[in-house]
Structure formats: structure tokens, C-alpha cells
Amino acid sequence: MIGIVCMCFVNPRGDLVGSPRVGVSKVERRGTGGYLLYVRPSAAATVRISALPPGYQARWSVVDRGMKVEVFDQRGYPADHGFALVIEALEAPPTPRRLGGPETHSPATEK
């Protein structure tokens, strides 16, 4: 089951815009084309950055306080541009239980 960990829209000035905004509280500029988002994707998460012009590329990395996104133009130079960010992660499915069935016991807690 896929869950949305984070979804947001960042404009070229580094502001969170539009809706919805999920899982991120703040964005800071980090030089030309650099944005620091206060969200930390887990190792298993899927990070998708879209809404960039053709030929533009975005790279992301985990830094101390969150996640840094860097945007590069067609020539590979840092460029200020807005983007849409979606981070998805696999969620563990709920433990299957039958109504009225016996409770599941963990060997570690049984006496």
C-alpha cells in the first residue's frame, strides 16, 4: 500500500504555494536553484519532482535538517524554478484479523 509522506509546491522564490501541503512545514532558499525543505524521506521512500521545464533536472539529498533540492537548467547551471514534490512510501498493511477470532499472541509476551 502506497502512502503519501509529503506533497508540496514550491515557487521559484522558495515559498510553499497552493494546496495540498502534506508533511513539510518550511522551505528555505539555499543559493541559486537550491531549496531546503524541512522533511526527511526514509531510505525506502520514492521521491518525485515534477513541473520542471524540459531539459531541467532536479537532484535531492538528505541534509542535517531535512532535504535539499537543487534545480539545474538545460546547460547544467543552477536555476531558480518552482516544482512539485511528492514523496511516497510503502505502508505496512494492517495485520489481518477476523472478527470474533482469537487474539494474536506474541511469543515474547507469552508466559
Binding site: F9, S50, A51
Partner: protein, 145 residues
């Protein structure tokens, strides 16, 4: 009574999402005719480049406008409605699912982010896919008092 408004720029589309998540949303009009799109970019798979529209996740869509609109200061507005079947519309009378559209400028033209809520009829509170109609207007500037 009607008011005639000159110099009003508008974009309009109707979106069918019956093919998702495996397929793409599509613009569709009455009787399956695919004409109900004026001014929006074609859909592409997520993550899509800025000149395209895309489905970002269940119930969340980025609709790219071919013409730049200025949403700042209320100079443009977006109206969106859910397209429900008769059987769906019954329970929605009591608990209408939330749906909203907000214009954003990500640096290359403008986009409208449409969010279709789940709501009590299907037991969900997070966004869920649904067909919708979107109308975006750039209001004219009045030149004479």
C-alpha cells in the same frame, strides 16, 4: 439578468479519471466526445514536465494552463465542480466530498492544483480520484468608471 463582460480570458475543461491509476486522466465531453478542453495542456505520466498536466497522486491533479493567468491579488479565479453520476450524487447531498482548485505560479506559466476529497460516501478523508470540471477566469480590468 445577465452582464456582458468584455476582455474576459477563460479556460475550461472536463476531466475523466476512470482510467487511473494505470492510465492517464483524459479530457472528455458529453457522449464520450473528447473535446471538453480549452486552454489546458495534455496529461503526461507523473513526474511530468511543466508544459504538461499530470495526476500527482490519488485525487490531486496539476492542470497546466497554456495561457498565463495572474492569480495574485485576485485578478484570476478558478472554479471546480465534481462530476458525479446520479447514484453518486444521492449520498453526496448529505456529505458532499470536498473539492477545490487553487492557482499557483511555479515559474513557467501557471498551473491550477485541483484536489478532490474523499468524504463520508466512500469512507475516506484523504483525496480520492474523481471526475471534475474546471473553469479558470482572468478578470478584465475596467477601463471606464
Amino acid at each position: 439578468m445577465a452582464i456582458e463582460i468584455g476582455n474576459l480570458s477563460a479556460s475550461l475543461c472536463s476531466v475523466d479519471v476512470s482510467a487511473v491509476p494505470n492510465g492517464l486522466p483524459k479530457f472528455v465531453g458529453p457522449a464520450g466526445r473528447q473535446f471538453a478542453n480549452v486552454g489546458f495542456a495534455a496529461f503526461a505520466p507523473h513526474p511530468a514536465p511543466s508544459p504538461n498536466s499530470e495526476r500527482l497522486s490519488a485525487g490531486v491533479y496539476r492542470m497546466h494552463l497554456l495561457q498565463t493567468f495572474t492569480f495574485l491579488g485576485g485578478q484570476a479565479g478558478a472554479l471546480v465542480t465534481l462530476n458525479a453520476t446520479s447514484s453518486q450524487a444521492g449520498p453526496m447531498n448529505l456529505f458532499p466530498p470536498g473539492i477545490n482548485a487553487i492557482g499557483v505560479d511555479l515559474g513557467t506559466g501557471t498551473d491550477v492544483i485541483v484536489t478532490v476529497g474523499g468524504g463520508p460516501p466512500n469512507g475516506e478523508s484523504s483525496p480520492a480520484d474523481g471526475n471534475f470540471t474546471l473553469f479558470v477566469m482572468q478578470y478584465p480590468t475596467q477601463q471606464t468608471p
